[in-house]
């Protein structure tokens, strides 16, 4: 056999073993038990993949941030129930009905909402979501099992349900799928870092942090990433062209929040602002002509920071609601 061909065969064998995942299995064994062909044992991979999905009972008011199977069974009439789902910002959420036993004729309902809605305010707002509000509700009592799986348009979703009869309920499976270019997202944590990229898309994207935070924008690109950066700013802030705005408010809907700052000039280097509002949103408005990107970090404000107004902070607007 030619030495080159031998080398290629060895390379291919190593490549195959790595693809099958058996290289992850490294078990310490006695010399007598040593199996030279252990790496080729397919049972080992099944051990890793055979984990049962996470399961637990769903509560009438609940928040879920991990995939799994969740069962709600009414122990008494439960008339006002909702469950929130939240994933990582770069994930979609898929809700799949495994089993539904409710009495729609008797007043029960089970609805999935694409986003979160709180006190009538929606995230994403109607301006930032591709669907009209009525289409964002998927009603099991209307669609039945024909729409058995519903995937959200962002990393948050929720269900509303009402079950009169004890013993009735439902089981659903929650999964997450990757979202390559997350457009609207709610942060799970009060501290973090995120890069919002809108590549040649005519859409508005919001990143919401439901905490009072100090936000530091480290990089803003409004234009082409390669080649020439825009020498002139995009055709003005003031709602025209591509820009980024910082919003603050006491509700969930970005369209009802107060704009605190507009950024329409590309820049590098941190620009920090403290926003003492219940909800802080970084919103990017894109025309679709450019690839826009903004990177920012955020950290939760300490209680003493909420009380003292200093430097670059806008506490007055929001402090009254705290």
């Amino acid at each position: 056999m030619l030495p080159n061909f031998k080398l290629q065969c060895h390379f291919i064998l190593i490549f195959l073993a790595a693809l099958r995942g058996d290289s992850r299995y490294l078990e310490l064994q006695e010399a007598a038990d040593h199996d030279p062909f252990q790496l080729f044992n397919a049972n080992l991979k099944r051990d890793l993949a055979g984990e049962q999905p996470y399961r637990r009972a769903l509560r009438c008011l609940d928040m879920l941030s991990l995939p799994g199977q969740f069962t709600f069974t009414a122990d008494r009439p439960q008339l006002h129930c909702a469950a929130f789902f939240i994933g990582e910002p770069e994930e979609f959420i898929t809700i799949h009905y495994d089993l539904v036993s409710i009495d729609c004729q008797g007043g029960d309902f089970l609805k999935v909402f694409d986003g979160w809605i709180l006190k009538g305010e929606k995230f994403p707002s109607s301006q930032d979501h591709p669907l009209p509000t009525t289409k964002r509700y998927v009603d099991f009592c209307e669609s039945g099992l024909s729409r058995r799986s519903t995937r959200s348009s962002q990393n948050v979703a929720m269900i509303f349900f009402r079950v009169h009869e004890p013993g009735n309920g439902f089981t659903l499976t929650v999964k997450t799928d990757p979202n390559l270019f997350p457009c609207n997202a709610i942060s799970q944590t009060p501290n973090g870092r995120f890069t919002l990229v809108v590549p040649h898309q005519h859409r508005n994207c919001s990143f919401s942090i439901i905490y009072p935070v100090a936000i530091k924008i480290s990089d803003l690109t409004l234009g082409h990433l390669h080649g020439l950066q825009l020498k002139k700013p995009s055709a003005g802030c003031g709602g025209i062209g591509d820009f980024v705005e910082l919003l603050g408010g006491t509700g969930l809907d970005p369209s009802k929040m107060m704009p605190l700052a507009d950024l329409c000039y590309p820049f590098h280097g941190p620009a920090q602002m403290k926003i003492g509002c219940d909800n802080t949103v970084v919103r990017m408005v894109s025309s679709g002509k450019h690839i826009n990107r903004v990177t920012f970090e955020y950290r939760q404000l300490e209680p003493y920071e909420l009380q003292n107004a200093d430097g670059n902070s806008i506490p007055e607007f929001c402090l009254s609601s705290l």
């Binding site: 061909f5 065969c9 291919i12 490549f15 195959l16 992850r24 299995y25 490294l26 078990e27 890793l48 993949a49 984990e51 399961r55 637990r56 509560r59 008011l61 609940d62 928040m63 879920l64 941030s65 991990l66 199977q69 069962t71 069974t73 122990d75 008339l79 006002h80 909702a82 939240i86 495994d98 089993l99 539904v100 036993s101 409710i102 009495d103 729609c104 008797g106 007043g107 609805k111 909402f113 809605i117 709180l118 006190k119 009538g120 929606k122 509000t133 009525t134 509700y137 039945g144 509303f160 009869e165 004890p166 013993g167 009735n168 309920g169 439902f170 089981t171 799970q188 439901i210 219940d278």
Partner: protein, 194 residues
């Protein structure tokens, strides 16, 4: 040369062919805890007409008739419930309920939260306009189409929860996620060795 090409092509094909995941199918069965009484609707029989009804159907609640026109007004909370869930490192109930204290604390929190949030049903029913109630009764067959049109103009279903409570439940969900991640990591370490 040809043999080499064939072998390489064959290997690439095998390597890049997508393998369907091997997952156990969930078998359908009755909802856990569901009574076995015949009048309880089976999940798949849900869309079929009921063979018999033991009693006359109750008049539909006003809230269902109105569809999505109402808020789920659950009240305003001025204070947060006392129970808090502290994150623990022990695994979740995925493998047999070994965290009764954390789950019990979470259940207590949500029970207390719901008790404070829930209003009597009659107060919610009274939100529906009596005029609309009477009109819906009179319409019969055209009721559904007209209701849909009305529904699209009315405020959507919502939840009246403060940000403070939303953060509380979010933090509890995060704690649950971290505990489950710790459990998965420990399982992985047990399999692949230390």
């Amino acid at each position: 040369m040809r043999l080499r090409l064939l072998v390489s092509a064959g290997v690439l094909l095998v390597a890049l062919l997508p393998c369907p995941p091997c997952r156990a199918l969930l078998s359908r069965g009755p909802v856990p805890g569901a009574r076995k009484a015949p009048q309880v609707p089976q999940p798949l029989d849900f869309l079929q007409p009921q063979p018999e009804q033991p009693q006359q159907p109750q008049p539909r609640p006003v809230l269902l008739r109105m569809g999505e026109e109402y808020f789920l007004r659950l009240g305003n909370l001025n204070k947060s419930p006392a129970a808090r869930l502290s994150p623990e490192s022990s695994p979740l109930a995925g493998d047999g309920g070994s965290r009764p204290s954390a789950d019990q604390a979470a259940a207590n929190f949500f029970r207390a939260l719901l008790q404070q949030l829930q209003l009597p049903r009659s107060s919610l029913d009274s939100r529906a306009g009596p005029a609309e109630r009477g009109a819906a009764d009179a319409r019969g067959g055209h009721q559904e189409a007209l209701e849909r049109e009305r529904r699209s103009e009315e405020p959507p279903i919502s939840l009246d929860l403060t940000f403070h409570l939303l953060r509380e439940v979010l933090e509890m969900a995060r704690a649950e996620q971290l505990a489950q991640q710790a459990h998965s990591n420990r399982k992985l370490m047990e399999i692949i060795g230390k």
